[in-house]
């Protein structure tokens, strides 16, 4: 069982190192024939790298998907906000208790249209990770989100959310301030909206912490994101008293994008540049841009009542039950 996404990216990193060195040789080579030869070899190496990435990423197992969904170089919410929106003004207060940096949000322009953006935010440096509590939001994070959702409704702004959290914060303080109520109230607030709501699962869709801001008219999921009712390690701990069996649990939980699509729980998988979104963030953003544009057009054309009803109906249909013939 792999411990990090770096394990299978090691050959790539080595290849890229070689390519880089050879490229400097190409530049330095005076003889045109010899230069051509070297350039061909570089191109060959690049093809090999691409082929490897394409093969490797097309057959990632569920556990490897978990690892890549959690990978630090993966683009985070603020990366996409910077790439996709203009004039983002972050609004911080929940107006009740505190400022939670595990969820960011505020108004922004998407192709000149005002929208309200809300998303979980991880950190890259140790300091930022601590400040953002590893994107594990506390009650005040969800209450800030609620405030922004309600503001969007008042000003007829579509809502766009980015989902990327291991889980909601489970600490003693979060319990005492009602983390459960905050998550439930956030979902409730999203069901009350009559503006269009679009969500994109960009990394870890971690249980209640994720669904708390993912009650949308349409939910997109990036190819290598995961979405799960419980972290695989937690599942393994409960089922087999063996948290290290996370890989087995990941397989059992079917937490990958293709499973979520198959069960009708997300609406569309967003293909990532091969080798993952982190290899080409602007290409990944472009894909998101296109589905957001289409989604805003589609739901923008609906009546407010129809948007609210569609959202409720979308979730109403979820679940697989049988009916006993005689009861």
């Amino acid at each position: 069982m792999a411990k990090s996404w770096k394990e299978w990216e090691k050959p790539v990193l080595e290849l890229e190192d070689t390519i880089k060195k050879m490229k400097s040789l190409v530049d330095a080579e005076p003889d045109p024939v010899r230069r051509k030869e070297l350039a061909d070899r570089v191109a060959d190496y690049e093809r090999r790298r691409d082929a490897y990435l394409q093969t490797r990423y097309s057959r990632l197992g569920p556990w490897e998907q978990v690892l890549i969904a959690r990978a630090e170089p993966r683009p985070y919410t603020l990366d996409y906000i910077n790439a996709l929106f203009n004039d983002f003004v972050e609004l911080q207060g929940d107006r009740k208790f505190g400022a939670d940096h595990a969820i960011v949000g505020g108004p922004a322009l998407f192709e000149d249209q005002p929208v309200m953006v809300v998303g979980h935010q991880k950190g890259r440096t140790i300091q930022e990770r601590t400040q953002r509590n590893f994107a594990m939001a506390k009650p005040e994070g969800y209450r800030k989100a609620i405030r922004l959702f309600e503001m969007a409704e008042r000003f007829a702004m579509p809502v766009i959310t980015f989902v990327d959290t291991p889980a909601a914060d489970p600490g003693v303080e979060s319990e005492s301030r009602g983390i459960s109520e905050a998550i439930a109230a956030s979902m409730l607030a999203m069901f009350e909206l009559t503006v269009p709501v679009l969500s994109v699962v960009i990394g870890e869709g971690g249980s209640g912490g994720a669904i708390g801001i993912a009650v949308a008219n349409r939910v997109f999921m990036q190819e290598h994101a995961v979405y799960s009712v419980i972290p695989p390690e937690g599942c393994a701990a409960i089922l087999w008293r063996a948290p290290e069996k996370g890989a087995q649990a990941a397989a059992a939980l079917q937490l990958t994008s293709d499973s979520a699509l198959r069960f009708g729980l997300v609406d569309q998988i967003l293909p990532e540049p091969f080798g993952g979104a982190h290899r080409d963030p602007s290409e990944a953003a472009k894909t998101i841009r296109e589905v957001l544009r289409a989604g805003l057009a589609e739901f923008g054309a609906m009546s407010p009542e129809a948007r609210k009803a569609q959202r409720a109906a979308r979730f109403r249909s979820m679940g697989e039950v049988l009916a006993a013939s005689n009861s």
């Binding site: 909601a168 914060d169 489970p170 600490g171 003693v172 303080e173 979060s174 319990e175 005492s176 301030r177 009602g178 983390i179 459960s180 109520e181 998550i183 439930a184 109230a185 979902m187 409730l188 069901f191 009350e192 249980s207 209640g208 994720a210 669904i211 708390g212 993912a214 009650v215 979405y227 799960s228 009712v229 419980i230 599942c235 409960i238 089922l239 059992a252 939980l253 079917q254 937490l255 499973s259 979520a260 069960f263 729980l265 959202r311 409720a312 979730f315 109403r316 979820m318 679940g319 697989e320 039950v321 049988l322 009916a323 006993a324 009861s327």
Partner: protein, 274 residues
């Protein structure tokens, strides 16, 4: 479905799970499974709960035909589920129905912890949803008795989505003026607490019930401050503003009846619908 269980045999004994004192089973039963020594409220089976609260003979089960589908083919799930059905005589962890409460008709849903820890998969989520929707369509208050360890992981992401689905049904109650009262019993946890349970109009809990988002071990590891002695008990949640009141079992019926009468008052006087 067996509705009234057999009375305990005369002279049988049980032990209080809290104070460990030995009690006559018949007396224990007559005292609503509340220990006469320490007041501990032991867990009730779903039909004991129904008998305790609602008018005699007024309960009619609904949605009984729903069965789990094992959509993921999750390891051992089909087996465990079949065993639970066998052992409890129930088809899943939630029982729906209508009943009357001091004469007022209500839509009810009762979780039974003895069925796979009261966990919420597609069937439980569908039943909770229908109980709330029935309140809306038939213009009556909804009472849900919670007893659950959380979402049922064996149904994967489908279980998580039940959180949203049940919340949508609560939204429908709220925007249609239907009162919804949640009664937390031991335990009310995780995905259930973080969805329909916590957004009821009124939340009542039985004394000492365990109520929380995360397992206590996880919370304590995650927290930096000190952990209160009563952490994740009903008493802790009352102080934290998450509950409206803690009601002893013997007063539950009258409290719920008053609330339904008052919050549902407008349903009595409104013009009949469609």
């Amino acid at each position: 479905m067996p509705f009234r269980r057999a009375a305990p045999s005369p002279g049988a004994f049980v032990q209080c799970a809290n104070c460990r004192k030995t009690l006559f089973a018949a007396e224990f039963q007559a005292n609503l499974k509340v220990c006469p020594h320490c007041g501990h409220h032991h867990r009730l089976l779903w039909d004991e709960r129904v008998n305790l609260v609602f008018d005699e003979g007024s309960f009619t089960e609904t949605d009984a035909e729903l069965r789990s589908a094992d959509p993921l083919g999750f390891p051992d799930y089909a087996e465990k589920h079949a065993q639970a059905m066998e052992r409890t005589g129930l088809s899943d962890s939630v029982i729906n129905g209508t009943a009357s409460l001091q004469g007022q008709k209500v839509s009810i849903s009762v979780s039974d912890f003895s069925f796979m820890g009261g966990s919420m998969g597609s069937v439980a989520g569908e039943k909770i949803t229908r109980a709330l929707e029935r309140g809306v369509s038939e213009r009556m208050p909804v009472i849900i008795f919670c007893a659950s360890g959380g979402a049922r992981m064996q149904e994967g992401l489908l279980s998580l989505m039940q959180m949203a689905k049940t919340t949508a049904a609560v939204e429908s109650c709220r925007s249609n003026g239907i009162p919804y009262i949640a009664v937390f019993t031991d335990p009310t946890m995780a995905g259930v607490l973080a969805s329909y349970a916590s957004i009821a109009d009124v939340i009542i809990s039985e004394p000492k019930a365990l109520i929380g988002f995360a397992g206590a071990r996880v919370s304590k590891q995650a927290g930096v401050g000190k952990v209160p002695d009563d952490f994740q008990t009903a008493e802790f949640l009352l102080k934290s503003g998450m509950l409206d009141r803690i009601v002893e079992r013997r007063n539950l019926r009258s409290t719920l009846a008053s609330l339904c009468r008052m919050l549902g008052g407008h349903l009595m006087t409104e013009a009949p619908r469609g």
